[in-house]
Amino acid sequence: MHRRVVITGLGVVAPGGIGAKAFWELLTSGRTATRTISFFDPSPFRSQVAAECDFDPAAHGLTPAQTLRMDRAAQFAVVAAAEAVEDAGLELAELDPYRVGTVVGSAVGATMSLEREYVIASDRGRRWLVDDAHTSPHLYDYYVPGSFAAEVAWSIGAEGPAAVVSTGCTSGLDAVAYAAELIREGSADVVVGGASDAPISPITVACFDAIKATTPRNDDPAHASRPFDNSRNGFVLGEGSAMFVLEDLERARRRGAPVYAEIVGFASRCNAFHMTGLRPDGREMAEAIRNALDTARMDPTAIGYVNAHGSGTKQNDRHETAAVKLALREHAYATPMSSIKSMVGHSLGAIGAIEVAACALAITNGVVPPTANLHEPDPECDLDYVPLEARDRRLDAVLSVGSGFGGFQSAMLLARPEGDAR
């Protein structure tokens, strides 16, 4: 079995607008969706900015029972999955449920619901022996985020392999790769896969404050996420989801489904170095990129765009620049490379999938999204980061990379479908 895997539908819940259309408009306009945190009073915290979604579950078809039951990240995933299924023109009733898989990536699971329930159960941190008299009957679904995959599977009637992939900030890329592998190996014909995270809660903000990973640029929230800029000083926490319909290419052709992109290569490596630190030379990420090129049987020069991890921490952006140079050599200098985290923030495990959506839309529309807020590049970051404005460019192949706590480094290659179908 050696099947090819294509993206035939996508759905996005992202800061700045719900749905793939609003998402793409934001990215190509170069506007940003970062702002002062509104979900709770952020004033006690070092970093008080985030990229929040203005999300009304009822407006997107979720029932009151679903809204009550599901964590915010599960709601995002179900809504994005529904958009992807509709976008792909899939008739759910015509699918064999046994041949439909579900994969959701998430770095921190139902952390918002967990914290909300913890506050109730502990009487605001006063009780070690927490009391479950007033907590949600769905507490276990928050405790084990496998529930995200269950919710998506239920919503689309899938009974094939289902999983949540949780490799920190590479969860999104790794989940899409896992989904693609289920098709490639023949375990499923269609997989609804992607990632979701909704981490904007006090404990997440506090834990990143503790290691100064997030930006303290609280006086200018709209311009707080500054990947590759010399003034960058940490990432901006985000939230959101992207879900895809992935199919066997032959199946997509048979039903005449338009194709966004083919997933032609993927690899992941670990740095075995530090849970949060990165080796400056970027060698493990470079190795992941080289291996993804090998699996795609692709020459580096075919890559027309690199979607960067570009979190906006001092360390990450240098690490990543080094890695891309190591893997693509001189072609790195000729390839536009941008970070959409400058606009939609860093939604931890979700962002890898959201970035795959950006790549698929970039290929389809022939447009490279920019890096917003990039005015004065770090001298050590000397590639073409597409500052401020989107750029028209025909793209035959794009690379998306991710890097995560735990040392995970992942790289995925997407290619323009044969025949410009979409």
Binding site: S106, A107, A121, G146, E159, T167, I203, F208, A210
Partner: protein, 428 residues
Amino acid sequence: MSERSERIRRTGHAADGRGEEKAADAPVVTGLGVVAAIGLDAETYWKAVLDGRGGIGRIARFDPAQYPSRLAGEIRDFDPAAHLPDRLLAQTDHVTRFSLTAAAQALADAAVDPAALGDYDMGVVTASSAGGFEFGQKELEKLWSKGGDHVSAYQSFAWFYAVNTGQISIRHGLRGPSGVLVTDQAGGLDAIGQARRHLRAGTALAITGGVDGSLCPWGWIGQLATGRISESDDPARAYLPFDRDANGFVPGEGGAILVVEQREAARRRAAPRVYGEISGYAATFDPAPDRNRPPGLRRAIELALADAGCPATEIDVVFADAAGVPELDLAEAKALVGVFGAGRVPVTAPKTMTGRLAAGAGGLDVATALLSLRDQVIPPTINVGTLADGCADLDLVVDAARPAPLRRALVLARGIGGFNAAVVVTAP
């Protein structure tokens, strides 16, 4: 020689070698590490299992008096400082300490010298259910009672689902393809299935399985919310899968880490032993609760058998999921009788001794199955007496270990929400 051909030479596979005959070789298990309530290494655990020694008791880590369920398969005599340096103690939850300990055992058992293998030839794929939950409770308490300035610099990674894979990778210098799966109790088997994919794609060796457990008050009320936890205070009557008195299950902590390798890679480095091969794997998902369709466990069994190229008649023992909840036991019994026929295959649930280990269960059951194949003996299901109506067609191995000629074992796991997974292992 180009980098690419060098890589192919080193691993024996083209990087995209999926589907090639050679890559389809079943990987072998060459090392085991176990941490559980009844043993802190594989051989101690295995002796206790064969003796039918129960490890379930009243929770000691916190006072469970106020909760309706008070029993667990708690690990009591583990001294973290004896296994880990201070630097790691400061930044790890219990579950990560157990994971690191089991991983070190497994690598030592397999006599793997990470420095002797290629830089990217070893990866780590583990399962997790809730991460480092006690660590998380402590930090939540600091945040809400004292303020954000008191939250640990380690909180950003010490509690999350990827922590065990990351820490194992760092401690042993394993840089290959890695991963983390969260499918509740099915996770351990799904991790092994994913490790197998990595080996087929060219990685020589993977550390896999899972170690789990959230014995802290905050983790405990999460588990109580399932409504599946036994409220009995009698360790001998609390977790009785397939029994007519089944009344829920008892959670435990622990699990197993396995070293799995490409058969050829194990041969090349003269691995001291092969416990067996991972011959088949499959995963399915149950229909949504409101749909009138059959559950997916039977399909997972059939797909795993097909994947192994193994007719049902070749399975010599089944390690059951054994939910301990009457309707779930009934569903499992029905699936087993449907595939194998009434009383045609011995079934056992040594997890009656450790408690259900969530993401730790699959790895530990696979380790136990491999030890059964090695020693040609089926460990018992303890405490179970009269089988429930509808489960009576099972040949459940109760009371004492049963010697038997064993070549292949089937291991099953179900995760809350609807996850089903099955693995077939075969003696070397």
